[in-house]
């Protein structure tokens, strides 16, 4: 895809005041508490991803920012001004939905012009055409301008929907799972295009998704939402490597992080079947949940590169149950340490179901959770 060459982002995280600021936003929908005391900031030039499963409150959050829902309590500020009571049009935000929402019988051009023809805008015809052509070029849909929207493919429709959002040059983009209904291949391409497009426009974006790959790969920062509450906010690497709770840990990573109940015995964290996993320091409670990403377990005889910190394990045998070779990576599902554990190797190994291996955990990468920390296990 001909994504435009990107310019480096000008902002340094934290340097500018937030463009969008939510404080204590709560919203009840019928009998459901959709949002509970949400505090959230989006910086002036960042792509903020709100990640959560179905029912987490993501769409309600987006609709509240857009002004389509009124919060029961709390405030919303944009560019320093309180917009909580403003109607949607006055907020000057553009919303893109999952299901393309174009006028099917209209041409692409007419669909793109529509938001610019609002009487309140009073734009001259030449300016309308200039902006439509600009957006069409950015999104590589110029050759489709005269085609009827109903005759477009899914990917083309979503490009037009995005085009309709950017012609207005709003102050803020709000995206509600815009890639969810597209083929895997198209999602992959549009993911990058959207990131580069937004960076070029330097307009902040709040992007809602349940897809952890989109969250990790697109976000400047991620907000993890669950049950209407924010569980953690941070840069993708921060949340992936240092999740604050098992629920957050499980939200990011594919296959999911391995979570093993452990007890401290003789200076080690020991699995339920007695397998010592990693060295333990003496502080804190004796029972924990140990989180280890599949790529931070090394099957013995595998990559020697990750040997450091792998003390106290590599002794207990594991049985390989399932082997998946996906492109360059190998994923193993093993019975080990009284659990079923995923191991990912960044190359094509030679494993078969039934093989016996001796996994080692890279102790420096393990995360320990208090057993009472929020949420369940896998």
């Amino acid at each position: 895809m001909n994504a435009p060459p990107a310019t480096p982002p000008a902002d340094r995280p934290g340097a500018a005041a937030p463009f969008l600021s939510l404080r204590g936003v709560s919203k009840r929908l019928g009998r459901t508490q959709a949002l509970s005391g949400v505090d959230m900031d989006a910086r002036a030039n960042e792509l903020l991803v709100v990640l959560g499963p179905t029912g987490a409150g993501k769409t309600t959050l987006l609709r509240t920012i857009a002004g389509l829902e009124q919060p029961d309590t709390g405030s919303i500020r944009m560019a320093g001004h309180d917009v909580t009571a403003l109607d949607p049009a006055a907020r000057d935000v553009a919303l893109v939905f999952q299901n393309f929402s174009l006028y099917p019988r209209w041409s692409v051009r007419r669909n793109l012009e529509f938001p610019l023809r609002a009487p309140s805008r009073n734009l001259p015809e030449s300016e309308i055409q200039r902006r439509v052509d600009w957006a069409a070029e950015l999104l590589t849909i110029s050759r489709l301008l005269d085609r009827e929207a109903s005759r477009l493919s899914g990917g083309e429709m979503q490009r037009v929907a995005i085009g309709r959002a950017i012609v207005r040059r709003p102050r803020l983009f709000l995206m509600d799972e815009p890639l969810t209904n597209l083929d895997a291949k198209l999602r992959e391409a549009l993911r990058v295009e959207l990131v580069e497009l937004r960076r070029e426009l330097t307009i902040p974006m709040v992007f809602v998704t349940h897809d952890q790959t989109e969250a990790l790969s697109m976000a400047d920062r991620i907000v993890v939402l669950s049950g209407g509450r924010i569980l953690q906010t941070g840069a993708p690497r921060e949340i992936y490597e240092r999740p604050e709770s098992p629920v957050v840990a499980l939200q990011l990573g594919q296959p999911a992080i391995n979570l093993l109940p452990v007890r401290r015995i003789d200076g080690h964290w020991v699995a339920t079947d007695g397998t010592p996993l990693v060295p333990a320091d003496p502080a804190g409670s004796d029972a924990r949940l140990l989180g280890i990403r599949p790529e931070h377990i090394v099957p013995q005889g595998g990559d020697a590169a990750n040997d450091r910190g792998a003390a106290g394990n590599g002794t207990a045998e594991a049985v390989v149950e399932i082997v998946e070779y996906i492109g360059p990576t190998t994923t193993l599902l093993c019975a080990w340490a009284g659990a079923r554990v995923h191991i990912v190797i960044q190359r094509r190994g030679r494993f078969r179901p039934g093989d016996r291996i001796r996994p080692r955990i890279d102790a420096s990468r393990a995360v320990l959770f208090e057993p009472d920390s929020q949420g369940g296990s896998s």
Partner: protein
């Protein structure tokens, strides 16, 4: 003779839409075959013709030696699995799994035996009396798979069965399907547009586009040695990087610009003048070089400079998009590394890992 043989299979609709344009495929007993391609490639139509839900307008389908091309669906021994639907909440696990058998009028004793057999194989034996709400999410998925496969036809036909599940569930179901298929050895044909799903499940992948087969091969063959440019870009996440250029005679002075006539080697020369020695037997001409992102490596002495456009962090790895003299390239980096947009890196292409395609026919050289 193979268990299931498609020969010259075609489907043309009344409005002259050519959904399937002549497919030849031989499937062995016990294989898990994945039909992979974008929407509109003909994969679902092919599956429906095997099921008998669509009638072929040309060619033949032979199953176990018998011509079934024009048999009704019920006369073919196939089981179609569309999606793993939610379980019936008011029925027990046993009743849920038995449902398709009862609907088909299978006798009670046999129903009981088959339900217990599939439950035992999937470690659900102790849960048969429970209701879905009393099960963990993982066990619910097992029950839905058990229900889908409790009929034991000669062939399972699965049409994007994981389409509506979220990513975690998809992964778990994928593993269940694979484990069960390995245990039961029932021939399975599985349709998807998701190349990752295809790679993880298939014994062999059939890549389709425009109603035709582009390539048939094991996941590794299709990934490492794509038969044409379509397969090279469709398979893999991301698809292969493609660099247009031409194959000429080898050049011993190695500056990449000459075209010496020592008559031995062959050299690929990109339009921008980047040169790489290639296999000597290749015929000179317009060619496209393909290379996977994991075979572009950071190397301080590498010949190519890339400006970072975007660093797509994926947790256990990163896809780093680079602007280079050869155009836009994606490089796979370790998840721990960071590449800020605008920064520069030197890279090399691993010459052992390149594919070459004829730029005209788009076929692999």
């Amino acid at each position: 003779m193979s268990f299931l043989v498609l020969e010259g299979l075609r489907k043309t609709y009344g409005d002259q839409t050519h959904a399937v344009r002549g497919i030849d495929l031989a499937i062995e007993r016990g294989e898990l075959i994945v039909l992979l391609g974008p929407s509109g490639c003909g994969k679902t139509t092919t599956l429906r013709m095997i099921a008998g839900l669509e009638l072929a307008t040309g060619g033949s389908i032979r199953m176990n030696g018998a011509d079934v091309t024009s048999l009704r669906p019920s006369r073919r021994d196939v089981g179609m699995v569309f999606q793993f639907y939610a379980l019936y909440p008011h029925l027990t696990v046993r009743e849920n799994i038995a449902f398709p058998l009862r609907a088909a009028g299978v006798r009670e004793a046999e129903t009981r035996a088959r339900v217990e057999a599939v439950a035992a194989r999937m470690n659900l034996g102790t849960l048969l009396g429970r209701y879905p709400r009393q099960l963990s999410g993982g066990d619910q998925q097992k029950v839905s798979l058990a229900r889908a496969i409790v009929r034991r036809p000669a062939v399972y036909l699965m049409d994007e069965p994981l389409g509506t599940l979220d990513a975690d569930q998809r992964l778990a179901m994928r593993e269940l399907i694979r484990a069960d298929q390995l245990a039961s050895k029932v021939t399975t044909i599985y349709v998807t547009h998701d190349q990752e799903e295809a790679m993880s499940l298939a014994d062999r992948i059939v890549v389709m586009d425009g109603g035709r087969i582009r390539q048939v091969g094991t996941p590794a063959e299709v990934y490492d040695h794509p038969a044409d440019l379509f397969v090279a870009t469709f398979v893999g996440s991301p698809g292969m990087n493609l660099i247009p250029g031409q194959i000429g005679n080898g050049d011993s002075n190695g500056d990449g610009h000459g075209d010496g006539h020592d008559g031995t080697g062959r050299r690929f020369l990109s339009r921008q003048g980047y040169a790489l020695d290639v296999a000597p037997g290749l015929r000179p001409g317009q060619a496209t070089l393909g290379i996977r992102c994991e075979h572009i490596q950071e190397d301080p002495r590498g010949p190519l400079v890339g400006r970072v456009l975007t660093d797509e962090y994926l947790g256990n790895a990163s896809n780093v998009h680079l602007e280079t003299d050869l155009g836009r390239l994606v490089m796979r980096a370790n998840g721990a590394s960071r590449h800020a947009p605008g920064s520069r890196v030197r890279v090399r292409l691993d010459p052992e890992q390149i594919s070459l395609f004829d730029s005209g026919t788009e076929r692999r050289l």
